[in-house]
Subunit: 161 residues, 2 copies
């Protein structure tokens, strides 16, 4: 549980896709979630800031949802990248996913003062659509579960209205 | 779409429950979502900050999820308060809900530079458990839908581990 994910798939996204408030390395005010492999599962570790509270002492659900969201898109990117024969940092730009749907079940109040660990299992449901099942732990306590359906970002994404 | 919700149910939560990063009036760094009635529906209007981006020009999904989350608990509080014969500001402290589950479907990229309007329909599924169906609009475009199951905060909430 200790420590952090030093480098994540998010460190290798193209600059234009690196301003995400959740996981963009170029967003000065964001959370900077970083997701990488841990065996055949994916992991993101995050220490909420003091202001990320629901009621004092417990983490705000919207931050947990954000963690599950970016952990989901990052996990999908890792999985498709590996399927394509690549690993983070090998010089090939990874694919970038967007979130189609996000479901979160809040199981227990989540304590504020410990790092949260999101652990993901990735399932391919279509070559461009992946489902990521995530468990969020505070210490060894499972506090939330989530599911993200992530879709490869359409090339015309930024031109949609 | 213009303007804001001047006063929300969140302005009348007890002080101890007013530090939520999403909707707490006493959280100096939070979003300060405010939810109130608009006829028999509920509404929260929120202008994302410049840093709340997914990719430049579009709103981060985690902030949309946060909006749907607090709009959901706020809407449930409004509905139970009304069922109990009260309206915000009548001197009676409203009930406080927590989120059991949060589901979001992202339908379209959400533009960054306009206020978002969450519109909710509240359904009682148990005296202490309410479901809130929410649509999030940017101008007149439906960008996301969501569903929150909100539960009256247990009295021992803060003592759970």
């Amino acid at each position: 549980m200790k420590g952090q994910v030093q480098k994540g798939i998010q460190d290798y996204y193209a600059d234009d896709f690196s301003y995400c408030y959740g996981c963009g390395r170029l967003n000065a005010k964001g959370h900077h979630f970083k997701t990488n492999w841990d065996g055949d599962r994916t992991v993101t570790i995050y220490q909420p800031e003091p202001e990320h509270t629901a009621i004092p002492g417990f983490v705000y659900g919207g931050v947990i949802a954000s963690l599950i969201d970016c952990h989901g898109t990052g996990s999908a990117a890792l999985a498709l990248h590996r399927k394509n024969g690549h690993e983070p940092g090998d010089g090939t730009e990874p694919p970038r996913f967007v979130t189609a749907s996000l479901n979160v079940n809040f199981l227990k109040p989540t304590p504020q003062d410990v790092p949260l660990k999101a652990v993901g299992t990735v399932e391919e449901i279509h070559p461009k659509k992946w489902k990521v099942h995530t468990e969020v732990y505070a210490n060894d306590t499972l506090c939330a579960t989530g599911e993200v359906v992530a879709v490869v970002m359409p090339e015309n994404f930024v031109k949609k209205d």
